[in-house]
Amino acid sequence: MEAILNFIGDNMEMVYFLVLAILLGIEVISNVPAILHTPLMSGANAVHGVVVVGAIIVMLQASPDNYLALTVGFLAVIVGTLNVVGGFVVTDRMLEMFKKKPKKS
């Protein structure tokens, strides 16, 4: 128990960060019209592609003779990039459909 508390205490900055970011995420999304649910989901999908940064860091740290890490890391970079690039492009294509038009209600 104490060990867990210590771990949290050592990472207090991160824990603050976590809590505030969760609240921010909830706040940012509320009040979204149903038409935008899917593009928003797709956009959010692209944003979590930021995980590719982690894959790059893994690769930067791997020593050139650690073939296992290199192979797995290489794969991680590819799939991560797929997530980012594919995600943003698909979202853009969806939103392209909502062309700017005089909006009357």
């Binding site: 970011a21 593009p39 999908n45 979590h48 290489f74 991560g80 459909m97």
Partner: protein
């Protein structure tokens, strides 16, 4: 010096994610918001590549391979995203989401290799974070691919015997193994067993959920991947990964709930309800024995031309047939004849919320013609003809008057209030929820069988003649 630039760049990237998501939730700014978030992502990747240094050795390695990976991913991702049909967007999102989950899981695998050499006494928080990243990433990966396969029609809805029980046991086993792993210290065997179990769990988790609920599941898996990315960020103390991941994790969860609300169902109901479990070829009772009445294209044309008001209810069938342009043409033609034509948009028509809006916007249908469910439901009583094009569950009266129906409680378009209902369908197959629709057997309903695009083309030609 460069470390500060790196940190500041991550801060900027985090801000673009927040602003981007915020802008994505308003129709006018959505596209710009997406581009802003993309620019932030590019910045995060570039500064990581150029400024991140292995602080121990002072140098970073393997640039060639990283670059190659980035290029391959970019090329494949762009081609896939550019080529995909508008109708196939949801499964594309699911596929990319699965890739993100895989990336998080792969990172956890490598970090575990490093971690094994470290000796930790007491509570090993880093190991826990790694395990959670691995498990959530894996579930998201296999689950997303199943969701992708289901929407592509490659995987059929299947409810395995005792599926829910098996899932609970599997989940319980995973939790127990995590605890064992945490107490006994890192064991590679246990680690890979956990990886395998998580992959299986992802498959079984999505397998029994019906196609109509897939967008909700994809949204949920999306927030899972967000969490997995956040765990990765925690591992490296990387703020950009943390913000991006947590933001998507929490925003994705809220979005999932919003989607459920749009269908008037709870998340547990979606996940455990096994929608359409008793579907398909079950005994033909009640309306199944009745016959439907067909209508010819020329009769339809006359009926439409002499109506005061017509409401078009588009559904997934319109999207599949790519009939949005013809549909718009018919609507213009009728308007020229003095008929008031509107579209009734059910919030979950099609395979994703907003699907119909996107589709009709592509065909240049004016915004003001698209009416939301709440506003148009009062108008059906004064409508002469409702044309239902490839929609089924969203107009099923069972949602109102059959408490045993799996879609009971879902708000529907009250098309049965209109004077005439014409249903365009390819055949008598059930809708995606796999249930009968008694609307088709109502006395005022007429069926117009055939491919939506071909039928609409013929109909448009006939209307011109009238």
């Amino acid at each position: 010096m460069s470390i500060h630039i790196l940190e500041i760049s991550y801060l900027i990237a985090s801000l673009t994610f927040i602003i981007g998501l915020k802008m994505l939730s308003h129709p006018d700014s959505a596209r710009k918001g997406n581009l802003i978030a993309a620019a932030g992502m590019l910045l995060a990747i570039i500064v990581t590549l150029t400024l991140y240094q292995e602080f121990d050795s002072g140098k970073a390695l393997n640039y060639g391979l990283i670059f190659l990976g980035l290029v391959i991913g970019t090329i494949i991702g762009t081609i896939m995203a550019k080529r995909v049909q508008m109708t196939a967007m949801p499964q594309m999102v699911s596929f990319f989401n699965g890739m993100g989950g895989a990336c998080a899981a792969l990172i956890a695998i490598i970090e575990f290799q490093h971690h094994q050499h470290a000796t930790v006494t007491g509570f090993d928080g880093e190991l826990l974070v790694m395990l959670l990243g691995l498990l959530i990433g894996s579930v998201s990966f296999s689950g997303s691919l199943i969701a992708y396969g289901k929407l592509e029609g490659k995987i059929k809805d299947k409810v395995l015997p005792f599926n829910q029980a098996v899932n609970m046991i599997l989940l319980g086993t995973i939790v127990v193994l995590i605890l064992i792993q945490m107490v006994s210290g890192s064991s590679p065997v246990l680690f890979y067993v956990l990886l395998g179990l998580a992959l299986v769990y992802g498959i079984l988790f999505v397998m029994p959920i019906g196609g109509a609920d897939m967008p909700v599941v994809i949204s949920l898996l999306n927030s899972f991947t967000g969490m997995a990315a956040a765990f990765g960020g925690f591992l490296y103390g990387n703020k950009a990964m943390l913000t991006g991941g947590i933001l998507v994790g929490s925003a994705g969860t809220i979005l999932t709930i919003l989607m459920c609300n749009a269908m008037n169902r709870s998340l547990t109901n979606v996940l455990l309800g096994a929608f359409g479990g008793s579907a398909g070829g079950s005994a033909k009772t009640g309306p199944g024995d009745q016959t439907v009445r067909e209508i010819s294209i020329s009769d339809t044309a006359v009926l439409l031309s002499y109506s005061q008001s017509v409401v078009i209810v588009p559904g997934y069938g319109l999207a599949v047939a790519q009939a949005q342009h013809v549909c718009h043409e018919l609507e213009k033609l009728l308007s020229e004849k003095g008929v008031e034509v509107n579209y009734a948009i059910h919030p979950v028509a099609g395979r994703m919320p907003g699907h119909m809006n996107v589709l009709l916007a592509e065909a240049d249908v004016p915004y003001e013609r698209l009416q939301e469910m709440e506003e148009i439901n009062d108008k059906f009583a004064n409508t002469d003809v409702v044309i239902v094009i490839g929609a089924n569950d969203v107009v099923n009266p069972a949602a109102k008057n059959d408490p045993s129906s799996p879609i009971y409680g879902m708000p529907i378009l009250d098309v049965d209030q209109a004077k005439n209902v014409i249903v365009m369908k390819r055949g008598m197959a059930a809708g995606y929820a796999g249930i009968e629709n008694e609307l088709f057997f109502y006395p005022k309903t007429r069926m117009l069988f055939g491919d939506a695009k071909a039928t609409l083309q013929k109909l448009t030609a006939e209307v011109k003649e009238v």
